[in-house]
């Protein structure tokens, strides 16, 4: 049996394997400690951080849909200073790279958070969230227009030396256009997808089920859309793509990798199976062994490279 090389490089961030946590689904790294060690992962992506603390949206914040989950958390987070002081030090104990997801209402917000986080030795990369559907200002707008997305990336680029991953919104006409714009603006990697904008109505109360009215759809329901976007984008950009959206099993993760992803991230899947991430790492490893794949990177984009 060969021992496949599972390591990948995401814009300069070396990862021992291609499996990351999806932002907003792993807290600040502490919550799943009872189930596995984050050191089994490729990288750890923590919750979206804004300049000031945000209390987020009122409840209800969750609606289950067929094979999907609508959430409208609204970027609840303690603000960048509290994150630096109270949360990141705890993450020092991990040997895997920590990536912080950052968000804001204005370009200045993004720059400020990026700059402040760069001062932490724990942080190995930043993921720019220009696609949160659950906040009124900012987020979504930046994620909907190539020019605005590029502006954010360019500005943040000037404020940090850390590798920059840009997380794209799937709620656009051309995901390739968005990807090319942020690549051109200096992104080191792209992650996609964030959640699809959705909603649900309670026919008894006759009102939206989420207090925020609309929310972000994640989970297996969205996987076909996510795989398609990774497939499209990976063929057009030179920087690595992180694929996510509905990954529950190693088979799901391999679909993304074959579509062109260099790494994958898991969000909703952790809620179903608290050991989802390490199980996926193991499953990918076994697939490689059984199929004599020497490097996981050899599978990236194989579905179009060998067509």
């Amino acid at each position: 049996m060969i021992k496949p090389d599972m390591s990948v490089d995401i814009g300069g961030i070396r990862m021992q394997n291609p499996v990351m946590t999806a932002s907003g689904t792993f807290g600040f790294g502490e919550v799943y400690e009872d189930f596995f060690s984050a050191d089994e992962l490729g990288a750890l992506v923590v919750k979206g951080v804004t300049p000031e603390a945000r209390i987020g949206n009122p409840p209800s914040r969750l609606v289950e849909t067929p094979a999907g989950l609508l959430n409208a958390i609204g970027l609840e987070n303690p603000g960048v200073e509290a994150v630096l002081k109270d949360y990141l030090p705890h993450l020092k104990g991990y040997s895997v790279p920590v990536i912080v997801n950052i968000a804001g209402n204005t370009i200045e917000d993004y720059c400020l958070v990026a700059e402040r986080l760069s001062s932490s030795e724990v942080v190995k990369g930043l993921e720019i969230n220009i696609s949160c559907p659950n906040v009124k200002a900012g987020g979504m707008a930046f994620g909907s227009h190539p020019d605005m997305a590029a502006q954010v990336v360019r500005a943040v680029r000037k404020n940090t030396k850390l590798p920059l991953i840009v997380k794209l919104s799937p709620n656009v006409t051309s995901i390739v256009e968005m990807a090319l714009a942020v690549e051109e603006a200096g992104a080191d990697a792209i992650s996609l997808i964030n959640t699809l904008l959705g909603m649900a109505i309670d026919i008894e109360t006759r009102r939206p089920r989420l207090a925020n009215i609309v929310g972000g759809l994640s989970g297996p329901a969205v996987k076909p859309v996510a795989v398609r976007m990774v497939w499209q984008v990976a063929q057009h950009v030179k920087i690595p793509v992180i694929g996510l959206g509905g990954i529950i099993t190693a088979e799901d993760a391999l679909e993304f990798i074959m579509a062109g992803a260099t790494a994958v991230a898991i969000g909703t899947g952790q809620f179903l199976n608290p050991r989802c991430c390490p199980d996926v790492v193991k499953g990918i490893f076994e697939y490689c062994q059984n199929n004599n794949i020497k490097r996981i990177g050899d599978l990236t984009g194989i579905a179009w490279k060998e067509a």
Binding site: V31, P59, V63, N273, R275
Partner: protein, 260 residues
């Protein structure tokens, strides 16, 4: 410690009343560590619809046999799937989760106020507190049938109320509570049940300066504090914001959350 037991063995499933069941399964680790008020988080199907786990309070544990008992009501597709499990099937369960009741109390007069399926966690609480305390339970439900499991699971002193009067007082549990509070002063009360009942209970306990713990429900995804989805509003004791029912609860001191 939290456990993930993908193959816990079902040891019994009893239908007690219209769409009300008692389910027991073998999970020695959970039985050993569980505290009253904690819950388990259950995957009801291998496929992805329903997608999420379902939180159910631990109703009773048999530490020696390593058994956990749940008392639940079929309200939708997840609980319907749960009710189709038979002895010998396996279920995928995580637990024990959440912050349970404060059980650091002894030698006191204690009240338990439970409505409907909200009685479930109070049974486990009674199991743990009854040796060292003097417990009175006020349990209410739609009818006699709905309250049947109470006798099966506990022998504490109960005052019952039903909507149809088929057993005990015809009316609300809070009627019973008020009546009793006119006679004596307990040290603490614990409540679980529909929001309306919790509100009424809180109004009463506040007036009587009776410390109250409540167990809340909320729609959950992760059940472990990761998703921030299960929030409810903070009460008078804290600053503006939310508490996570799965992690900081499901049990709260009444003033920690906004009931009223």
């Amino acid at each position: 410690m939290k456990y993930h037991i993908p193959q816990a063995l079902v040891t019994g499933q009893e239908k007690k009343a219209e769409s009300t069941y008692l389910l027991s399964f073998h999970a020695p680790e959970i039985a050993k560590d569980a505290q009253p008020g904690q819950f388990v988080h259950i995957k009801t199907i291998e496929a992805y619809d329903p997608l999420l786990r379902r939180p159910i309070s631990i109703c009773y544990v048999d530490r020696e046999k390593g058994l956990v008992v749940l008392w639940y009501q079929v309200v939708g597709k997840g609980t319907k799937l749960l009710s189709s499990l038979k002895t010998g099937d396996s279920i995928d369960v995580i637990g024990p989760l959440g912050r349970g009741f404060d059980t650091a109390i002894s030698g006191e007069k204690i009240y338990l106020i439970g409505g409907g399926i909200g009685i479930a966690p109070l049974i486990f609480l009674a199991q743990s507190l009854k040796e060292e305390n003097n417990i009175t339970a006020f349990f209410g439900g739609k009818n006699k049938e709905q309250l049947l499991p109470v006798n099966q699971l506990t022998s504490i002193n109960c005052e019952l109320a039903t909507e149809d009067g088929s057993i005990g007082h015809q009316g609300f549990v809070t009627d019973l509570l008020l009546r009793r509070l006119a006679l004596e002063k307990p040290a603490r009360a614990y409540a679980c049940g529909p929001n309306g009942m919790l509100e009424q209970t809180a109004l009463i306990t506040r007036k009587h300066n009776l410390p109250l713990q409540v167990s809340l429900e909320s729609v959950m995804a992760c059940g472990v504090g990761a998703c921030l989805g299960c929030t409810c509003e903070k009460g008078s004791s804290g600053e503006e914001g939310w508490v996570k029912v799965c992690k900081e609860g499901p049990v709260f001191w009444e003033d920690e959350v906004k009931l009223l």
